[in-house]
Each structure stands twice: as C-alpha cells, then as structure tokens.
C-alpha cells in the first residue's frame, strides 16, 4: 500500500517537473525575453540592462531553470518584471481568494450535482430527469461569461437581489467577500454541477441496470437498500475522477469569472500579467496552478484506489 502511494507521488512529481520544464521552455522559445516583453518599446539601453540584471537573464537557460525551480521549491517565486516586487508576496492573498471562490463553488456544486445526478438516474426519463438534464446541457454548453452576464442581468440589474460586481480589495478578510461572492460562486457551481450531474446520472443508470443490482433484487433486498448499499457506492466511484477533472477545469474557468466579476483572485492577476507582458509572474502562476492540478488528480487517484476494493487488491498484488 505504501509502495503504491510512493509510486503515485513519484509520478506526480515527475509530471510537475515536466510541467515546469514546459513552462520554462515555452517562455524561452518566445521571441525576446522577460525584459523585452515587459518593456516593449522601451527595451533598450540602460533600462534593459538593469532589468536583465534584476532578472538574472545574463546566465544560460539551464542555469536559470535550475535556479528558478530550486527557488520555487523553497517558496521563492522570483520577482515581477514590473517593479521587482516579490511574486510570492503578490500571489499570496490572491491565491487565497481564488481558492475561496473555488472552495465555495465546490461546496455548493458537488453535493448538489451528486444529489441531482442520483435523482435523475433513478427516475430516468421522468419529468425530473428531463428538467434537470436539459438544464444541465444548457449550463454546460453556454460559456461561463455568457451565463455570468445573464445572471448579472437577471439578479443584479433587473431584480437587484445580488451585487453584480466585486469591489472588495484583494487583501480583505474572507467574511467581507459575501454577498458579492455569491453570483460568481453560483455561475461556477452551475457549470460544475452540470458536468458532474451528467456523469453521475449515466453511472447510476449503468449500475442499476447491472448484474449485481439484479441479483440483489432477486435476493429480496428492498429497493432503497439496494440503492444505498449496493448501487451508489459503485456508481459514485467514477464521480471522484470527474470531480477532479472538474476542479482542473475550474482552475481555467475561474479566470473568466474573475474578470467578469472583477474578483481579486489569481486568475485576474494572470490576465493582467499577460497583458502587461510580465513573464516571470505568468511563469510563477502557471507553475502554481499546474501543481495544484497535479495534486488534485493525485488525491483523486488515491481516493479511488482506497475506496475501490478491486483496485486495492490489484495494486497490492503487483508487489
């Protein structure tokens, strides 16, 4: 068991290393460097020299990569090309804010999705299913900025129930983000719920049509007991992976939401950095996000392994 864990961790670490190389290489390949990108037209003479000194751009690529990677491990993400501020500082509370948004969306979306997914799976083709499945298609396919805009139109402009924009500063304590955070959370949760719902639904349908559910019926097990003891533990296992994938999506989708609602999170910071051509910041954010993604996937994999008896034995046997 431990060996399996270590193996997975090792593979996760390998992925993160490859990501870091891709990020670094990607930035390297682009014409120019961090300084010419940021300074643009002013990239010449003294300014350029100083910037390059500050960024340490006069060393070889390999050296710089190792330096960057090593520092990152220690928590030092370098300095922004825009004024030389420590990136770790800049990122600090932004990351926290984005995580808050993501966490709220997950807390709302995942239980709702699982509940609705089970309901629509069990009552397949009845009106409950039609309503929510159709709703899910809509929520899933419409771009987040569209649904965000629509929701703002309805709930903020027309009904005036919720604020349509976030004015709280980045370093404010968590409590101050409510109620402004509500609409963004709802939009995010909507999309997430739709994806997970559909997946849970098809998993529930598949399991309920399967052999062991039939056997349980023929063994005289009451319906609801079958659902909770026999079907759901099996049907919800794949949901773990879907939730992980959705979190991965979330890391991207949250960017658009943050822009629409002016939310002070990592996503908006990334957009700003890209617009400003502040490459070191972009690099750092990319690394953070990728690491979170890998971490989430790893957790999902491990959870699945722990909860699925078949996988547990399979991996144990490989020893």
């Amino acid at each position: 068991m431990l060996r399996m864990l270590l193996r997975r961790l090792f593979l996760g670490a390998v992925t993160v290393v490859i990501v870091s190389v891709i990020i670094f290489a990607g930035v390297e390949i682009l014409p120019g460097d961090a300084c010419t990108a940021f300074l643009e037209r002013e990239a010449q003479g003294r300014l350029l020299e100083n910037c390059r000194e500050a960024q340490g751009l006069n060393r070889s690529a390999a050296e710089r990569y190792i330096d960057w990677a090593a520092s990152a491990l220690r928590g030092d993400l370098g300095v922004s090309a825009n004024g030389g501020v420590s990136i770790a500082e800049l990122v600090g509370n932004r990351l926290g804010n984005s995580l808050l948004l993501a966490a709220c969306a997950l807390a709302l979306g995942v239980p709702l999705a699982i509940f609705l997914g089970v309901v629509t799976g069990l009552w397949r083709d009845r009106w409950v299913d039609l309503v929510f499945s159709t709703g899910a298609i809509f929520a899933m396919t419409i771009p987040e900025f569209v649904s965000a805009t629509l929701l703002i139109l309805v709930f903020s402009v027309w009904l005036g129930w919720l604020p349509g924009i976030v004015l709280t500063p980045a370093d404010a304590p968590v409590a101050e983000f409510f109620p402004e955070i509500l609409l963004p959370v709802i939009v995010l949760a909507m999309v997430m719920t739709a994806h997970i719902l559909r997946m849970v639904r098809s998993s529930v349908i598949e399991v309920m049509a399967g052999d062991y559910v039939q056997m349980a019926t023929l063994k005289g097990v009451p319906y609801w007991r079958i659902v909770f003891r026999h079907a759901l533990p099996n049907a919800l296992l794949p949901a773990i992976n879907v939730v992980a994938l959705t979190i991965a999506w979330l890391l991207g989708g949250v960017v658009v939401i943050e822009v629409v609602f002016n939310y002070p999170g990592l996503g908006r910071m990334m957009i700003d950095a890209i617009s400003d051509r502040d490459l070191p910041v972009v690099q750092a954010i990319a690394l953070i996000v990728a690491t979170v993604y890998v971490g989430v996937n790893l957790t999902a994999d491990l959870m699945t392994m722990v909860l699925n008896p078949r996988l547990r034995t399979h991996y144990m046997r490989q020893r």
Partner: protein, 298 residues
C-alpha cells in the same frame, strides 16, 4: 451495438450509405433534429449574412447610440451607434471560420498521433503520455493567451494555436479508443498475417476509432467555440471593428441595465450555436451506438 440498419451495397457507396443512415437516425431524434437544424442555420447564416444585412457592420451613427429596438434598427444600436441586428447576424463568421478550420486539424493530428501510440506503445508512449498530462495540467486560457499575446490575434495565429492545444486531449482519447480496439482479436489476426503497422492503422484501427473521433470532433468544436468567444470577450480574440459575439457581449454588458438587447442578441446567437452543436454530438453518439461519459472541457 449501433441501431442503424446497414444496407448491403458494395464498395465505396457502402460508406456513403452508412453515413446517410446515421444522418437519418440523428434527424429522427428530437435532440438531433433541433441540434442539426441550429448548426446548419448558423453555418448558412455565416455564409450569406453579408448579403442580407440591412446595414454596414462598421457604420456608426453617433446620434443613435444605445437606442432600443425600433423600426429602423430592429434590435437597437450599440454604444457606437452600430446596428445590433447586423452585427449579430454577422457575429459568427469569424468564430465559425476559425473553429471550423481548426477543429478538423486538431482532430486529425491528435487522432493520428493517439492511434499510432495506442498501437505501438512502449517507452516513447509512456513518456509522451506524461508530457500530455503535464500539458493538460495547465489551464487552457493561460496556454493560449501566452501565444496570442506574443504573436498577435490574427487568424493566422488563432487557427494554429487552437488546433494545437485542442488536439492534445484528442491524443488521449484516440489512444484510449485504440487500446480498446487493439485488444480485440482481429487486430492480432492482422498482425499475425504479417500486415505492417501502417496497414493495420489504416484498415483495422481507423475505421473502428473513427466513430469516437467524429463525436469527439463535434465536442471539440463546441469547446473551441467556447474558448474563442471567451478570448474575444477578454479582448484577446477578434479585433474591433469585426463583429463577434464574444466581443459584443463584452462591450455591451456595461450598458445592460438600459440597453439589454445589445447583450441578449449575441447571447442568444452564441448559445444557440453551441447548444446546437452539443445536441448534435449527443444524437450522433447515440446513433453510432457510443456511450459518452461527460468530461470537463479542456
């Protein structure tokens, strides 16, 4: 097993007949009928709109800014006095052009690479999968923005960028589908006969993986449109004054409270296209007898 009855016609026309049957099956389902109609409608609209619009999409009329719907302007005007109806009707052109070209490229390159590695396996395959996983762990928006910001927003940048990044997940899917097919005996039989790899890919694997790729292609298209319009929304896609729904929504949302039609029109247009594609993909999957687990867009 597919529901589609397969007519007995020899040679090339058998394939045509099969896809004809699939088309009929798709249209017989409500999701398919609605979806396909929407898609065809939008494609036709994108092609003919320059000839049917009442106004020039660039024409600004300072006196008529942000007016509501009227006899002159059926959907009102935007913040620069341009006709909303015209811009909405033409708003899909760029999006459809870019995504319509990029999607087949993405599916083709991702698919072929995925099939090849699904068959060959080995060390290179393992390494490639790690790299693919690593790539997929970066948020799409980041990857694309970096390239766009460096190279510009013209379609000569957008098409390859979208095609490249959206082809990567196709590698995984094609590879997984290939694994399923390779496990079956007819592939071993072909190998035992002495057929070479390319022959096996062409004759045994591709025809069996094609269905999955077609459905995946439809989904890719919808996600690509989503990405494209999001990019436009953020200001990194289409440049003004070209009409584009994403851009229109971005421009108009500041004025939502008193000129909602400027936002609603492109919202309806964009949503109907994307929903249409999704419904079609769903119906296509059912017609081909494929089971699709929903995945988050990457």
């Amino acid at each position: 097993m597919s529901d589609v009855p397969i007519p007995m016609a020899p040679g090339r026309s058998r394939h045509v007949a099969r896809w004809g049957g699939v088309l009929r099956d798709v249209m017989s389902r409500p999701s398919g009928a609605i979806g396909l109609t929407l898609v065809v409608f939008h494609v036709v609209l994108a092609i003919v709109s320059p000839w049917i619009v009442p106004y020039d999409f660039k024409a600004m009329d300072a006196a008529l800014m942000l007016k509501g719907p009227s006899d002159l302007h059926w959907l009102g005007t935007d913040h620069l006095g341009r006709d909303v109806l015209t811009r909405t009707l033409m708003g899909g052109r760029e999006a459809l052009l870019v995504t319509g070209v990029a999607t087949p490229i993405a599916v083709a390159w991702g698919g072929l690479l995925g099939i090849y590695f699904g068959l060959v396996g080995g060390r290179l395959d393992e390494v490639l999968m790690r790299v693919v996983d690593a790539f997929l762990s970066l948020p799409w928006i980041l990857k694309m923005l970096v390239l766009i910001v460096t190279f510009g927003t013209g379609i000569e940048v957008l098409i390859p960028t979208l095609a490249f990044f959206y082809g990567i997940p196709v590698i995984r899917i094609a590879r997984a589908a290939t694994h399923d097919v390779v496990a079956r005996d007819f592939v071993s039989a072909a190998r035992a006969r002495g057929h070479g790899r390319l022959t096996i890919i062409r004759r045994e694997l591709l025809p069996n993986v094609l269905d999955t790729l077609m459905v995946e292609g439809a989904m890719r298209w919808s996600w690509m449109l989503l990405a494209f319009s999001s990019l436009s929304f953020l200001g990194f896609g289409v440049s003004p004054p070209t009409p584009d729904w994403g851009l229109m929504i971005a421009d108009a949302r500041g004025f939502m409270s008193f000129a909602p039609s400027g936002v609603l029109a492109p919202v309806v247009a964009l949503s109907s296209l994307i929903i249409g594609i999704n419904l079609t993909a769903d119906a296509l999957a059912k017609a081909l007898g494929l089971d699709r687990a929903q995945k988050a867009p990457v």
